[in-house]
Symmetry: C2
Subunit: 204 residues, 2 copies
């Protein structure tokens, strides 16, 4: 499966299921190319139920679905992949329990983590936070030059994440990234369709 990482939507963890689905569908119609379900509430049943519904939705639009952290939920709903951070299940352990067709993404914040992710068989990395963000309490902003250093270190696709909005996204122009990940910029928007469309226009 070839993944189009250009406009990578990461869902917000605070939305109820129906609102989540409605916003994601509008965002996909606006041009989102891949969706990650991130749910930190700790209620596995709610997470699973959202994942089931998002699987139906993303299949309808032929968009890859990535599940954050919970590999079991990714397996149970037949997601296209999983995304993990440095405090989650390690990539080699994940590889042991998922089919070859599933992709693994890893959040990295420096060249060492990026190299390790690539060596461990990650299909892509999420690099950030490229800008200050409010979506993720523990996200640290990368020091100047760090994004470039990370991009020089690895061959696998990199997705920039963290505080990206329609005003600052142009600052990532010319970087060797496969895409940008947007969280609140789309999920908190009144009209995710128009916002996604605006991102796609700027990404051209």
């Amino acid at each position: 499966m070839t993944i189009d990482y250009r406009l990578y939507l990461v869902t917000d963890e605070t939305l109820p299921k129906d609102e989540l689905l409605k916003k994601v569908e509008l965002a996909i119609q606006g041009g989102v190319t891949i969706v990650q379900l991130r749910e930190k509430s700790g209620n596995g049943k709610v997470f699973y139920e959202k994942a089931v519904k998002l699987r139906e939705l993303t299949e309808k639009y032929q968009i890859p679905l990535i599940i954050n952290d919970r590999v079991d939920i990714a397996l149970a709903v037949g997601a296209d992949g999983v995304h993990v951070g440095q405090s989650d299940l390690p990539a080699p352990a994940i590889r042991k329990i998922i089919p070859l067709s599933m992709i693994v993404g890893v959040s990295v914040g420096n060249p060492e983590e990026a190299r390790e992710a690539e060596l461990n068989g990650a299909n892509y990395v999420g690099v950030g936070a490229v800008f200050p963000t409010t979506s993720k309490a523990d996200a640290k902003v990368l020091p100047p030059g760090m994004l470039d250093k990370i991009l020089e270190t690895i061959q696998i696709p990199a997705v920039a994440i963290g505080g990206i909005n329609l005003e600052n996204v142009s600052m990532l122009g010319g970087k060797n990234i496969a895409g940008i990940a947007v969280v609140s910029g789309i999920m908190k928007a009144n009209d995710p369709f128009e916002v996604a469309k605006a991102y796609r226009k700027l990404l051209k």
Copy 2:
């Protein structure tokens, strides 16, 4: 695999790895027949690392290892089973992604939940809280007669859990239970070996 549920140890979530391992080993030497790793910290990496070590330890003593909630971690370490609550991944979703040899346990608090668990292919149920407990903030004590009602409803083994200690365990005598689950009674004990031995003696 025939599981001996008689003295079912549920590990406490607050212990560092080395202390956890030491206490569990002493408890096994004292007579614990099955171990469940319960870890609610949300750090998947720490949970996984504890599970790897507990897998080694339980294999050494030929004791079944059950993982709470995280089916992916159970799969990754080759645990003997998973245990889930009413807010975790539903049993039918779990069955789809685990080998036939793995067992599934479900926490239940009334006959409806017990019947549903059995119909969904659970291998056993955890029934509680049979006594007031401090280990689990959201655990509600069963009303009088409820344990018997649940036990009458199902054919699969039932393990009583919640606030069981050396003083009150005799109140469960004569009940049609496969075993008792102990959390802080063993994990918070200075000498888990002696405490486990004392439970085994009382269970005779």
